[in-house]
């Protein structure tokens, strides 16, 4: 009998059929979503109510954590300051080098100028100018300085040794790096 239906009507019927099938499936889907929504609702309400219940506790915990951060910051700052004070206390003193140079100046050496050169916090060089009575007293002074553990080298410029007496000299004394 279906073969008696004209093709146009047959197509319309088929379309109608599939539309109804889709409609049924969509309605089923809607039903599922309503069910899912209804099942979700208790969880939603529970989570929301728990959040509200714990809110004050969480706020006080957060405030305490923030205060704790401030305390930790104070301790960090103090530690840094203590480290700086300690480091500043370990900066080598110039006085020790000056006293050593003066103590090493033998008979016949008159010091007229001293310059202490510091590279950042360590002393790198001491420049001593003066007058030596003789070549021997100048070289003795340089040798005494070089034999001192505080200094590593005392170079006498060659031109300083040209004269035999009343020699104006400039000694560049390299300082032994602090271990």
């Amino acid at each position: 009998m279906i073969n008696l239906i004209p093709p146009v009507a047959k197509r319309a019927m088929l379309r109608e059929y599939w539309q109804r099938v889709a409609l049924v499936w969509l309605l089923c889907l809607c039903g599922c979503m309503v069910l899912a929504g209804l099942l979700t609702a208790p969880s939603f309400v529970l989570v929301q109510s728990q959040l509200q219940a714990y809110q004050s506790q969480v706020q006080s915990a957060a405030a305490m954590a923030s205060e704790q951060d401030a305390l930790a910051e104070t301790i960090t700052t103090t530690n840094e300051q203590a480290a700086t004070v300690l480091a500043a206390g370990q900066v080598p003193s110039m006085t020790a080098y000056l006293e050593q140079v003066r103590a090493l100046a033998n008979q016949g050496i008159t010091i007229s100028r001293i310059e202490v050169v510091r590279a950042d916090t360590s002393i790198s060089e001491v420049v001593v100018s003066g007058v030596a009575d003789t070549r021997v007293s100048l070289t003795t002074f340089a040798n005494r300085i070089e034999s001192s553990p505080q200094f590593s080298e005392a170079s006498v410029p060659l031109e300083n040794l040209a004269a035999n007496e009343d020699i104006a000299f400039t000694l560049q004394i390299a300082v032994t790096p602090a271990s």
């Binding site: 500043a88 206390g89 900066v91």
Partner: protein, 178 residues
């Protein structure tokens, strides 16, 4: 348009709306669940946080004097810089050293990893006094060090050796803007 097509369209729109609504609900639930989890974690950690907080508070209270003492080693702000200048000048005056041409700048000490004030003076005095002054300058109870020192010694006939020169002292500073 047939009645079925119209119904299908209406149901389609309703389905889309419901899907969107359900998606929103699920996302909201998820974000609240995450927030709740964090809240529970925070509350669970609170006892430990309270213990640590009490320990830190006690430590800070116990070391308040020491911390105050450490702060005294720093030149704090402009007022501190002025006090430091006064201290150096008072030290010089006590040793009969004449200080001239003061220069004050700021810089950074790489070794100490701190900002410093750089104070330079020319000085003049007897050799004995200058030696004492330099030694005292290096013992000032401030986180500081002599950064540069040069001087010339002159021996006037029949008089005590006179020293003229200049020095630069670096002092660790904090809060220069204060």
């Amino acid at each position: 348009m047939t009645a079925t097509t119209r119904r299908l369209l209406v149901v389609l729109i309703i389905t889309a709306g419901m899907a969107a609504g359900l998606l929103v609900v699920v996302l909201q639930l998820q974000s609240r669940a995450v927030a709740l989890e964090e809240a529970l974690q925070t509350i669970a950690n609170q006892a430990a946080v309270e213990r640590e907080f009490a320990a830190l508070s006690e430590l800070l209270e116990r070391t308040s004097q020491e911390r105050a003492q450490i702060t005294e080693y720093f030149v704090v702000g402009q007022a501190g810089s002025i006090a430091f200048l006064d201290q150096v000048e008072a030290l010089a005056a006590a040793e009969a050293i004449e200080l001239t041409n003061p220069r004050l700048t700021t810089g950074e000490s790489t070794s100490l990893n701190s900002p410093v004030i750089q104070l330079t003076y020319n000085f003049a005095g007897t050799e004995v006094a200058v030696n004492r002054f330099i030694a005292l300058l290096e013992q000032v109870p401030v986180a500081s060090y002599l950064a540069a020192l040069s001087f010339a010694i002159q021996e006037p006939p029949g008089g005590a050796p006179q020293v003229t020169g200049s020095f630069t002292i670096h002092a660790v500073t904090t809060n220069l803007d204060v």
